[in-house]
Each structure stands twice: as C-alpha cells, then as structure tokens.
C-alpha cells in the first residue's frame, strides 16, 4: 500500500510518542532515580545480607525450575506435534493456561493442595519453603519452551527423521542427531523466556513463600518488602538489578531470534 507520506509520518509519530510515554520515560526515570546519588549507595543496598541471600535463592529456584521446564517442554512439544492420541487439542489449549491465569490464583491453588489441611500432605514442608516456591515458578513458566519448540517442529517436518530411521537409526539416535540440532535455537529462545519469568515471578511466589525475610525472600519479594518499609532507595536498587537482568534477556532474545526463525 503506497500510503501517503503525511499519513505514514503521522502514524509513526503517534506510535513513537505512545511508546515513549508508556515505556521509555518510566524506565529511564527509574534508572535515573536509582543512580542519582552515585553508584556507592546502590552497591551497598544490593550487597546487604538480605539482598545477597535473596539473590542466591532466586538463582537456586531458577536453576531447578528452568532445566525441568526445558525437558518437559521438549517432550511435550514432541508429543503434541509428532504424537497421535486422544485429547491432544485439549492438552494444546491447557498448556497455555499458566499464561492466561492470574499468578495469585496459581499460588492459591498450590496453597490449597499442599498447604495446611490440603489435599496432599508430604513428609516435608512445601508451602512457606523452597519446594513450594519452585513449584510455583515451574507452574508459571511452564508454557514457554513448548510454545517456542512446537512451531519449529511443525516447520521442519519429519522427513529427515524418517530417513534416519530407514538408514537404521534408533529413535533415540534420530532424536539426538537429527531432531535436537534442528530445534536447538527454538529451545534456546524458550529457555531465555523461561529464565526471565522464573527470576521475575512475584505473585505466585508471594502467596506460597510466606515472605520470611532471610529465608524465603526472592529478589522480587525483597523489592516489595523494601518498598513497604519505606526504603525507597533500597527498592530502586534491587529493581535496577532486576532491570539489568531484563535487559540481558532482551539482548539474548534479539541475538537468538534470527537463528530461531531461520529453521
């Protein structure tokens, strides 16, 4: 469509203004507020014992949740694309549920199932401790790898896998030598999204953690607690740390996207 030059410039201006007001100004402002008194107070705020503990706990949760979701994601994507079974359409829709569902509802569901007087009682504590927080994180970041790998699997088809099978490869060999290399960038992209969500999750973790300072406090919970305690500078500093992680995520997404789309 050969749009009128004036119309094109007009739409461009409106879009840029909208994105500037909604996105760039607020994000720029928070970085300015964080560093307006130099880097020393920021460094002090993110190296307090509580902040360091929150950082390691966040990392620990992500290190458990992300690999589990990656394996689950690849297996589920393979089943959805290559498998033939009843209820496939239903599973396909339900996989997206964690995206459409409120994190608070997810946290509450875990609380009702594993909490005091819940349906399932395990020999160790789930709610208000690490296992519950890991479960909540796995739940909210479940769909990312599946959603990224499914379209790639559809795109590459199964001719190469069949060729490998005719040449005498076992299904296991065909997966490692043919399928996995073909979907690796899709998996990588999904892992980046899963990690970002795992580190940044707040609502679901907030419900199941009990928010015990120095014990079950992740970085996002630390931000909220500092804000509630009127430690605004401390909240900004922890937010800036999470903001840096988010920008690293964007960089990784930008670098991986062309490779993913090539397949």
């Amino acid at each position: 469509m050969n749009v009128d030059r004036r119309v094109r410039l007009g739409v461009r201006t409106l879009v840029l203004a909208y994105l500037t007001v909604l996105l760039l100004v607020p994000v720029g402002l928070v970085f300015y507020r964080t560093f307006e008194h130099g880097i020393t107070p920021v460094w002090q705020a993110i190296t307090t014992p509580a902040a360091v503990h929150a950082f390691w706990l966040t990392l620990e949760i992500a290190l458990i949740a992300v690999p589990l979701n990656t394996i689950f994601g690849v297996v589920t994507a393979l089943a959805l694309v290559r498998g033939r079974f009843r209820g496939k359409v239903a599973i396909d829709a339900v996989i997206s549920l964690p995206f459409a569902l409120s994190p608070v509802v997810i946290g509450l569901a875990l609380l009702l199932v594993y909490g005091r007087g819940g349906w399932v009682s395990l020999p160790f504590q789930v709610i208000f401790s690490l296992p519950g927080m890991v479960l909540a994180t796995i739940f909210v970041s479940l769909p990312f790898v599946v959603r990224e790998v499914v379209p790639v699997l559809r795109e590459i088809g199964d001719e190469s896998e069949q060729a490998a099978a005719t040449l005498g490869a076992t299904p296991w060999q065909a997966f490692w030598r043919i399928t996995l290399p073909a979907i690796r960038w899709g998996i990588a992209y999904g892992v980046v999204l899963t990690t970002a969500r795992a580190i940044g999750e707040f609502g679901a973790v907030s419900v199941v953690s009990g928010r015990i300072a120095g014990e079950t406090q992740t970085l996002t919970l630390l931000v909220e607690q500092r804000f509630q305690n009127f430690d605004l500078a401390g909240a900004y500093a922890a937010s800036a740390l999470l903001g840096v992680i988010a920008i690293a995520t964007l960089l990784a997404m930008t670098l991986l996207k062309p490779r993913k789309d090539q397949t």
Binding site: R12, L16, Y18, L19, E224, S239
Partner: protein, 233 residues
Amino acid sequence: MARSTDGGLDTFWSAVSSRQAVSALTLSLWTSLVVAAVNAVAGTATAWVLVRDDFRGKAVLNALIDLPFALPTIVVGIILLALVGPTSPVGIHAVATTWAILLALLFVTLPFVVRSVQPVVQELDREMEEAATSLGASSATTFRRVVLPNLVPAILSGAGMSFARAVGEFGSVILVAGNIPFHTQLASVYIFGQVESDDPIGAAAVAVVLLAISLIVLVAIASVGRWGARHER
C-alpha cells in the same frame, strides 16, 4: 480449586456475591476490556510501523517492545510509582486511581497485539493492496477493506491475551492501585488479601471466577485461530 465449594454451593455463592468481591471483579473486568481495546488499536499501529515504516533506531525499538515481558511485574510497579507517585517529576499524582491501574495494565500487556499482528503484516500480499489502489481505492479504503480483514484474527487473539493477562495482573498493580475497597481494589489483589487474612474459601471463590474467565478466553482465542486458518484457504 474445588475446595471453594467445601462449604457447599451456598458458601461459595455468598463469598462470590459479597459486595466487595463483586466490586473487585467488576473493576478488573472493565479496566481489562479498556486495555484490550486500546492495545488492539495501538498494537496494530505499532506492528504496522515496525514492518512497513523505516527510520533510524527501528531495530532497537523492535527489541524494546518485549521489555514489559522481560521486566518483573513488581519492578514495573516500582517504575510506575516513580512516574506517578508522590515523588513524580512531572507532577502527576495518580496513585490509588483508576488511571494508575490502566497505566500499569497497558504497560504489562503492550507486546501482545504487536507480536501477534507483526508476522501477519510481514506476510501480507502487497499486490492485493496495489491492485486495490490501481482500481481507485483511497489508502483509507484499502486499509479498511483489504488489509484489516487479513489482520482481524491476529488482532483478536492478541487482544484476547491482553485481556486475560490484565484480568489476573497482580505484581504491577499491587503498589500503584492503592487497594481501596469498592474503589481501586482489583480481583487479584482482593484474592491476595483474603489469603493473607486467612480466608482461603473467600479467596478460592473469586479465584474460580478468574479461572473460568481464563478458560473462556483461551477457548475463544483457539476458535478465532481456527476460523482465521479456515479463511486463509
């Protein structure tokens, strides 16, 4: 979730229909509808500019669109507090108003429509548009009659995801919404409050309503997808 009916349907019904719960659900629903509608327009325009327009810094802008997905929601809350809170540099004090809620929801749902419409604009057949223009259609008519119908399924599914996300949004609104019952209390924050005050049944009752909304939206998006795929053939 079935535990919301532990005390029988009567308990469930009285928990859901308490005035505070109804008010929180209503607020969540209408603000999310507004947000979905604004996203449908702004997101389509943004996708259009990102594909068809060309200017310096477009690649950076394209990457920044995903920022709301990459940022933790509580950080979004802190960011918006810095903008419209008591220390606002532009003199806007909107904490505990519906405006703050709308701002937070628009921020976190920004990428949905852009990212669902963008690939469709990329695949659009430009010859169709040129044919319409050569037959004397104005650019407005071409957009409305030729381009838009192709984009509708993608716009609807993006707006649907925005709506679902906005209805359940928690982290970004907990700090700026103010949580004033009957005024700025959203459904998700209400549920959280009920959990904190040890009323899991009341929390679960409202949660079931949110769960039902999520399921309805997912089914709607899936049918729009099938409908769009059928029209392509």
